[in-house]
């Protein structure tokens, strides 16, 4: 062992929890307002959009299904990036970010599964099929829940961070599988029509509401995530204070 010093990135000194709490407290109101406004606009646009001649009114499910599916994947990507932060810079904020993104990601994944099923019933005539895309999203859901269980099972967040980060990164294999499953295997599910290299193939009257809803979902995600991160920081602070209390008592020693 030549050097035991933990590497301390520049933001270790910059971003301490108190400062993070202050900064996030200032940003939050704007973020929340933006989220609500864009959501309202998006909802208005999606109900103003014309009905699809094939799918009828059910096409409106798209405006909440597709963003939920995107967010489910984006949230895992955020976690993966945060995990790299945990492993490389060992910054606890990265761990806080990865941990708190979990329930939110799970919720969006759940929504994409649920709205997908609700769309599938009238369109395909069944709630559920075991096709590649649906199944890979289901696996993503399981991974979210598994990671949540992992965090819940550990009594010490500081020790949970790195192992959980490793696992998160290993699980990232699933994201490209979800994304490209429609191209690799022929399935019932729609192939990509918006996020394609050669530009969207979807009609603008549906594209714009979809995009606005996607923006709204993204803002909602960041708002919730920031709030959850603040909670987590407070939780750790409480935990730390409890531990300190234990040690102070130890140092206080026996009854006189």
């Amino acid at each position: 062992m030549s050097d035991t010093t933990a590497s301390q990135g520049w933001f270790t000194s910059l971003a301490n929890p108190t400062r993070f709490l202050a900064l996030s407290g200032r940003i939050l109101p704007y973020l929340a307002t933006a989220a609500v406004v864009s959501l309202l606009v998006g909802l208005y646009m999606s109900f103003a959009a014309p009905e699809d001649y094939q799918q009828g009114i059910t096409v409106r499910i798209m405006f909440i299904h597709v963003p939920a599916a995107w967010l489910a994947m984006m949230c895992y990507s955020v976690m993966a990036i945060a995990s790299i932060g945990t492993l490389v810079w060992r910054h606890p904020l990265a761990d806080v970010a990865a941990k708190t993104a979990l329930p939110i990601g799970a919720a969006f994944t759940f929504l994409s599964l649920l709205t997908g099923s609700l769309w599938g019933r009238p369109m395909w005539g069944t709630w559920w099929v075991w096709d590649a895309r649906l199944t890979s999203v289901f696996v993503l859901f399981l991974m979210y829940l598994g990671l949540m269980a992992l965090h819940r099972a550990m009594d010490d967040p500081a020790r949970a961070a790195r192992p959980a980060a490793v696992l998160t990164l290993v699980g990232f294999i699933n994201i490209p599988i979800i994304k490209f499953s429609v191209d690799w295997w022929n399935t019932l599910h729609q192939p990509a029509s918006v996020m394609r290299l050669d530009g969207p193939t979807i009609h603008p009257s549906m594209l714009y509401p979809l995009l606005v809803m996607a923006v709204a979902y993204t803002l909602i995600f960041f708002t919730l995530h920031l709030m959850a991160m603040r909670n987590e920081i407070l939780r750790r602070r409480v935990q730390a204070m409890r531990r300190q209390a234990a040690q102070a008592i130890g140092a206080g020693g026996a009854r006189p």
């Binding site: 709630w127 559920w128 199944t135 829940l145 269980a149 099972a153």
Partner: protein
């Protein structure tokens, strides 16, 4: 004894939630099946009850080895075994019950969702739930015997499952056949179900006594 039940439930729900883990495992196992079998919905519906039962059996068996081992490792077991015979049997009963409440019951409640995924009919799902409701406590009770025997072994773990699996197989068989009897027409549901219930009662009586005997014998 209420204190013991409360303590065991508190531990199960607090440290990682044994309950949640059981259900998640159940979900994961059932989700894996279609990858093997293929996405044929009819076939899935046909083997659904068997899969659900296997998943539930596994989920309640795994982790059963900790029933007494955890108490042994931290020394609590000594206090439990120091009690008189009747209290010890009661203690084992209560601990098994707590195990079932924390692990078995959530499985029963999760079964309908999985039934949906396996494309099972409502009747089949209901039958599986009913049989699980009767069968999973039996697994916990008979599992206590294995857990008690495992206490003496240096590293119980797997051995519990080895000891218990043969005993649990009748539960599995009657559980599965009762579930099928409920959907396939000529077969009556009640006979296998009654046998299952009888097994469950028998194990609820036998398990704690045998486990208590094993614990008394294992003290060292």
């Amino acid at each position: 004894m209420m204190a013991l039940l409360k303590r065991d439930l508190a531990i199960a729900t607090r440290s990682g939630g044994a309950a949640m883990l059981g259900v998640l495992f159940f979900l994961a196992v059932v989700a894996v099946i279609p990858f093997g079998i293929g996405p044929d919905l009819n076939l899935l519906a046909r083997i659904g009850p068997a899969i659900l039962w296997i998943g539930a059996l596994l989920a309640s068996l795994l982790g059963l080895d900790r029933l007494f081992q955890a108490d042994r490792e931290d020394g609590s077991l000594d206090m439990l075994v120091m009690q008189d015979w009747f209290s010890l049997v009661l203690t084992v009963f209560v601990k098994s019950l707590a195990h079932w409440l924390a692990t078995g019951l959530p499985l029963v409640l999760a079964a309908p969702l999985l039934g949906l995924l396996m494309n099972m009919s409502a009747t089949a799902t209901g039958a599986v739930m009913l049989t699980l409701l009767v069968g999973t406590p039996a697994i916990s009770f008979i599992g206590a015997v294995g857990a008690a025997v495992a206490v003496v072994l240096p590293r119980g773990g797997l051995l519990v499952s080895i000891l218990i699996l043969p005993l649990a197989i009748p539960i599995l068989i009657f559980g599965v056949s009762a579930s099928y009897a409920a959907v396939t027409d000529p077969d009556p549901f009640l006979p296998p179900f009654m046998i299952l219930s009888a097994i469950a009662l028998f194990f609820a009586a036998l398990g704690p006594v045998a486990a208590a005997a094993a614990l008394k014998g294992a003290a060292d």
